[in-house]
Symmetry: C2
Subunit: 219 residues, 2 copies
């Protein structure tokens, strides 16, 4: 196994160098990159769509949609009149900084304040790769179950915020929100935990207040 | 990127050699390995638990529980009095044949007919690695959404069966089951599509009939 491990490390070191380059560029251009991560079906696109609606009068927004294949999510964002680039990873399970570096010149960065990156639906690999982001938001939807922070700790330990998403569905599932909150704070005491529904809008007011503070710190 | 791609290919070729070795051994020992895949929270452990209850009088069953970390799922299986080994991947997003080869001697294979392998919760990477399985079952739970076969095609194209799981939740979600069925059959016309709920037991009778035929073919 040592061969595989060695190479992964090399890719990761290279990845971190490129991530630092991206951070330097976005700092000059006053662009805040937000890395949105979570399982397939956690509701990442609905969450980004909701934030676009809430923030578009105040901030200039762009989106990079990461997917294995297809353009389903990018089409949803495009309909909102927001600049969007579809990154297809051709089977790869995460986004690397090298792809973001390649895509950034496709945006007019002087006219972007917030650039959302919707990562591949996967609780494992995306967490290992910095992509030049200013901060990370991890989504865990209620139907996925309350043991997911314990089972996939890295993503939740490295994110600035945990969203319990589809929170309006809580009554239909055996889901202990305090277990999720405690498992998250045990691994990352600085994480902010929110309970949101993109369908009913529950919890968004508080989240957006935190989110805007994070963005404004970065710009 | 070529460096990374080259190495992944090497690992995969090695993986396939080991997978073939496992198949030879399990064919001699009359053990059927079932690779159970799906997202985090798709309900893989509930599904395996349900099958154990339905089949344990007829077949001798063992389980390999794959997880990034922890022993949460293995403890659930152990409570049923079924031989179980917890494979912790230490951060890796999939199971490789080499791990299964290492674990198999920990079971008394003369006393196992069906060996379930619960793969890591991930719709991407596990699909790329054969682990010596006789067949694959992919779970997609209703709350994850009906676009997942289109977005993560490899897993569903390479599985012998697609389970729409948590099907009792369909009324609460905007989920087009015919889209899922058609997207699956477009990619893999031989796949068998089932609608199951491990809570209400809906759909299990038909599924178990198919499952037993697959196991009996393999033994």
């Amino acid at each position: 196994m040592s061969k595989e491990i060695k190479v992964v490390k090399q890719v990761m070191e290279w990845n971190d160098d490129v991530s630092d380059k991206i951070k330097k560029l976005t700092s000059e251009k006053k662009v805040c990159i937000v890395n949105v991560m979570g399982s397939p079906g956690a509701g990442k696109t609905s969450f980004i769509t909701r934030l676009i609606e809430e923030l578009k009068d105040e901030y200039k927004i762009g989106v990079i949609e990461g997917d294995i294949t297809d353009t389903i999510d990018a089409e949803k964002i495009d309909k909102l009149g927001i600049p969007v680039v579809q990154l297809q990873t051709n089977g790869a399970c995460h986004i690397e900084a090298m792809s973001i570096e390649h895509i950034l010149p496709m945006f007019d960065l002087d006219n972007i304040d917030i650039l959302f990156v919707e990562n591949i639906g996967n609780l494992v690999c995306p967490a290992e790769f910095n992509i030049g982001e200013n901060f990370r938001v991890a989504l865990l939807s209620v139907p996925e179950g309350d043991d997911k922070v314990a089972k996939y700790p890295l993503m939740f330990a490295t994110s600035d915020s945990l969203i319990m998403h589809k929170y309006d569905m809580k009554e239909y599932f055996d889901f202990d929100d305090m277990r999720v909150e405690n498992d998250t704070l045990d691994r990352n005491p600085k994480s902010k935990v929110f309970r949101l529904s993109s369908r009913t809008n529950e919890g968004y007011e508080e989240f957006i207040s935190w989110f805007k503070d994070k963005v404004n710190e970065s710009l």
